[in-house]
């Protein structure tokens, strides 16, 4: 069954959209990432104009993260204080990212920047996470504890910088400076790549600040919810590229998928959780690398740069 999308201006199969958004929603609920980095390229692959894909996925991510936020909030695994710091930094980063985005577009190198960033970011982060997850698994097999426990009184130097704050939920007492910097970087990357940034935020909070995984996922979803709500409104205001009908079907599949993902996450142990997330991120990076390194069968591409309405 096909339905015509009024803003994307093409018909699309309802079953395919529901299937795609359901699968991405499952992954989103499982890992506490927005899933935008998977859904946006998939929609573009289905011929949906990139601007419409990015803007509509923002709405879908807002919806599916709401479900997650409510679930983690009820389980008391959400740190609003940490979330607030992340949102504040994220807004600053987003503004810088949008400025950079427009500069690159003027220089005509936007596409290269996006592809290169996807490749480097995803392969490096995915590779590091994979290495770490495998090392932890070897440790378990050798009968040692999965990771070196954080001992009282010892912490990485960046936590000891000035402006220390206590985040009770996250069991964290650390300087705000590195947290805000992290949020700025993620806001920047998110604006340039059109992704929420959860896939960077989650591992960064786990590795650099040793915050419990459940709280990290809940808080990351909260940060994603706030930024994606803002992004949807901004996209609707500035380039009218949010497709409401597409959003409804993405939401329908996404929220249901996210529910099952959230349930599955509880039956998954921490080590395999990290291994799977690492493999997922790494494979997206490799997919973009293939595009960059393999000779294209069709060297030309056509874009409609200016609409007359």
């Amino acid at each position: 069954m096909q339905i015509y999308l009024p803003i994307a201006e093409l018909p699309i199969s309802i079953l395919m959209v529901l299937g795609l958004s359901g699968a991405v929603g499952f992954i989103s609920g499982l890992f506490g990432v927005g899933g935008g980095f998977l859904l946006t390229p998939l929609l573009i692959f289905l011929d949906i104009p990139p601007a419409v894909a990015v803007a509509t996925v923002a709405a879908q991510v807002a919806g599916s993260s709401t479900t997650g936020v409510l679930t983690y909030w009820r389980r008391r695994a959400l740190d609003f204080k940490l979330g607030g710091v992340l949102v504040a930094g994220g807004i600053l980063g987003t503004v810088l990212g949008v400025l950079f985005f427009n500069l690159m577009r003027r220089l005509g190198q936007l596409e290269l920047v996006i592809t290169l960033s996807y490749v480097t970011l995803f392969t490096i982060i995915g590779g590091l996470m994979l290495y770490d997850a495998l090392r932890a698994m070897w440790r378990v097999r050798a009968g040692r504890p999965a990771r070196l426990r954080r001992r009282a009184g010892t912490h990485p130097w960046w936590m000891g910088l000035p402006l220390r704050m206590r985040f009770y939920r996250s069991q964290l007492y650390a300087s705000v400076i590195p947290i805000a910097l992290l949020a700025i970087v993620i806001g920047f990357i998110g604006a340039v790549l059109g992704v929420g940034g959860g896939f960077i935020l989650v591992p960064a909070l786990i590795y650099f600040f040793r915050i419990p995984t459940a709280v990290v996922v809940g808080t990351s979803l909260f940060q994603i919810l706030v930024t994606m709500t803002g992004a949807t409104i901004l996209h609707a205001l500035t380039n009218q590229s949010v497709d409401l009908i597409l959003a409804v079907f993405l939401l329908l599949g996404g929220v249901i998928g996210a529910q099952f993902g959230g349930r599955a996450a509880r039956n998954l142990n921490v080590e395999s959780f990290r291994l799977l997330l690492a493999l997922l991120i790494l494979s997206v990076g490799l997919r973009f690398a293939i595009e960059l390194f393999i000779a294209p069968t069709e060297p030309f591409s056509v874009i409609v740069t200016e609409g007359i309405r």
């Binding site: 018909p11 949807t232 409104i233 609707a236 409401l244 390194f293 060297p299 591409s301 874009i303």
Partner: protein
């Protein structure tokens, strides 16, 4: 119904224009002048009907009639890029802009274009996918590179079904009456479309006629699209409200623990 109505219209037009001074006149009618996009729209098809009116006093021609129908869709600025090798990676390096370029183009004729006219005539008369576009500014360099980009663009748009050339797209129902179906794919843009119909005999244009149709959104599609433009903030807020509602609803529906 539509078809018989169009033929009736043709007959009326034929009577009205019979007194024209030229030897051949072309009369054309469309099965419809509007394509409406609703929520189950997956493309549509229009038919152009035409009649060649001959002045009884002029001598009969030796050459058969040929009809070429060219449909030009709304114009946009197109950017064509080419990937080139830079060290180990492939990136878009060169690009060409095609301003004011139709993104829908359909050329239909009753037999292959090269049998109807020479390549030079086709260029001059703007017949065929390569020639149908408005010519670029004389000041612009229209070298071999640009031609390569243009070929690439035509190939890509043909793959998307937006450009088409049908060598048997026009059917003569009698010696003078013809019809040409014009398929409009679902991805064809909204806006106005111009149809040029030219009558040839022996490679010489005898008469031409033009008509038009438009592709518009209707019903909910139209309301949503205009809402997105005219009430952007409201539209954005409504989308967000819907998203949050869906998220909340699902957490309530699935809440078991």
């Amino acid at each position: 119904m539509r078809r018989s109505l169009a033929i009736l219209l043709l007959a009326t037009l034929a009577v009205l224009t019979a007194a024209s001074a030229r030897a051949e006149t072309l009369i054309a009618a469309m099965s419809s002048h509007q394509i409406q996009i609703n929520s189950n729209y997956t493309g549509d098809q229009l038919t152009v009907f035409g009649l060649v009116e001959r002045d009884g006093r002029s001598a009969a021609r030796g050459d058969p009639y040929d009809i070429i129908v060219t449909v030009r869709g709304p114009r946009r600025m197109l950017l064509v890029r080419e990937k080139e090798r830079l060290g180990p990676i492939w990136i878009n390096r060169t690009q060409r802009r095609f301003p004011d370029n139709s993104i829908f183009l359909a050329v239909a004729s009753n037999r292959p274009l090269n049998e109807i006219m020479s390549e030079e005539t086709a260029r001059r008369e703007r017949i065929g996918l390569e020639n149908a576009q408005r010519l670029p500014d004389p000041g612009l360099d229209f070298g071999r590179t640009t031609a390569r980009f243009k070929d690439g663009m035509i190939r890509l748009l043909e793959e998307k079904g937006l450009y088409s050339q049908e060598a048997r797209g026009v059917t003569f129902l009698s010696n003078t009456l013809f019809s040409a179906p014009i398929p409009v794919p679902a991805t064809a843009p909204t806006g106005s479309y111009e149809i040029d119909i030219v009558l040839y005999a022996g490679g010489v244009p005898l008469a031409r006629q033009s008509t038009n149709f438009e592709v518009v959104k209707s019903g909910i599609e139209q309301r949503l699209a205009s809402g997105a433009y005219e009430h952007s903030l409201l539209y954005g807020l409504a989308t967000v409200a819907l998203a949050l509602f869906f998220g909340w609803l699902s957490s309530v529906v699935f809440r078991k623990d």
